[in-house]
């Protein structure tokens, strides 16, 4: 059962940007993982920004989806940064004891891109 649309993975030079809006169904999550993997495989990316400013509820299901995506990206040499997390969501996550273990976060898209640029240049030996 598909909605007939999927979340676009947008390439900005060496960075991939994904904007999650509203609810992610199982089908959308699967498609997103496949699309991100395909993009990274086609042309390596320094970073992946997952922007969640369009998300109104961040439950354990969505947290896990984000976590999985970050893991997959890391396995392919790409750093993931979460941006645009609403303060209410952040407070709720903390109170509920749900965390996005190991997923870097930034306040907004600009900070996320700066973070990735720094991580990329810092990584050059």
């Amino acid at each position: 059962m598909t909605e007939g649309f999927k979340i676009p993975v947008i390439r900005l030079y060496d960075t991939l940007i994904v904007s999650i809006q509203g609810n992610l169904s199982d089908a959308l999550v699967r498609a997103l993982k496949a699309d991100i993997t395909a993009e990274i495989e086609q042309r390596a990316a320094h970073g992946l920004v997952i922007d969640v400013s369009g998300v109104d509820v961040l439950d354990s299901y969505l947290s896990k989806a984000i976590y999985d995506i970050a893991q997959i990206a890391a396995l392919m040499g790409t750093q993931t940064v979460l941006s645009g997390l609403d303060p209410m969501l952040a407070m709720t996550l903390v109170e509920m004891g749900l965390d996005l273990a190991g997923v870097a976060t930034a306040l907004n898209l600009e900070s996320a891109l700066e973070y990735i640029a720094k991580a990329a240049s810092g990584g050059q030996a």
Binding site: D56, S60, M96
Partner: protein, 250 residues
């Protein structure tokens, strides 16, 4: 106003079902009431905008959205109740919907048209499809707003409901949730989640906080318990799962 609201409800129900129609109408009535309380009678344009916003949010199919909006536009633009043509339109839309409804629905239509706040209200959401998780979230958020909860409290409770609905869908395939508002004395939202699925094994281990699961189900239950003021869960292969919890608001 009552006849107009009923007519709008009938249109919404026709295009998006009872639950979404109720959600939209309740939110709309609250806005109109709030406006009236501060001395402003919302003009038809503003009313249409308010409804349009909700319709775009809650009605999934764009085609249905457009149909809804244009029908409601007609209902609102003929703003004067003394106008005989609007009487005809409202009456026929009402008749059409009431004809096919059971007595229960008629009672509900009457309930929606009244402005008095009831001391207790109960709502049920069936969880059968993945999209029902979203319906449950919208319903509970709307109820929280109704009880005067601030955005943070709304978010917390909606997140808990999202967890519950997701668990029902994922592990049992099917179930239902019930929401009860009480306004007597301390405002409270009581939530019940019920399914007849396989049940949760190791429930006591999970509740003791000692279970690390791959699926994350244990974490979800603990996190619900942290947010809610009262929390009770019974689960097992014979009985499925039943969660009853309460959040006090203000």
């Amino acid at each position: 106003m009552t006849a107009q609201v009923q007519a709008i409800f009938a249109v919404l129900q026709e295009h998006s079902g009872r639950i979404i129609a109720e959600t939209i109408i309740e939110s709309y009535q609250r806005r109109v009431q709030r406006s009236a309380d501060s001395g402003v009678d919302m003009r038809p344009n503003a009313r249409l905008k308010a409804l349009q916003h909700s319709i775009k949010l809650f009605v999934a199919a764009e085609q249905e959205q457009q149909k809804c909006i244009s029908e409601i536009e007609k209902l609102l633009n003929l703003g004067d109740q003394a106008n005989p043509s609007i009487q005809t339109i409202s009456r026929s839309t009402q008749e059409k919907s009431l004809q096919n409804e059971s007595a229960q629905s008629e009672k509900q239509a009457a309930h929606i048209s009244s402005h008095t706040l009831k001391a207790e209200e109960e709502f049920e959401v069936e969880i059968q499809r993945e999209s029902d998780i979203v319906v449950a979230r919208h319903r509970v958020r709307s109820l929280c707003m109704d009880l005067g909860a601030d955005r943070l409290l709304q978010t917390k409770v909606t997140t808990v409901v999202s967890e519950m609905a997701r668990n029902i869908f994922q592990y049992a395939g099917r179930g239902f949730m019930r929401f009860r508002l009480t306004r007597n004395g301390r405002a409270a939202l009581r939530i019940m989640a019920r399914d007849y699925g396989p049940g949760i094994s190791n429930l006591d281990v999970i509740l003791a906080g000692e279970y690390r699961s791959k699926t994350g189900m244990g974490k979800g239950i603990l996190s619900m318990r942290t947010i809610m003021d009262e929390f009770d869960i019974r689960s097992g292969p014979e009985i499925g799962t039943e969660i009853k919890c309460t959040k006090y608001m203000g």
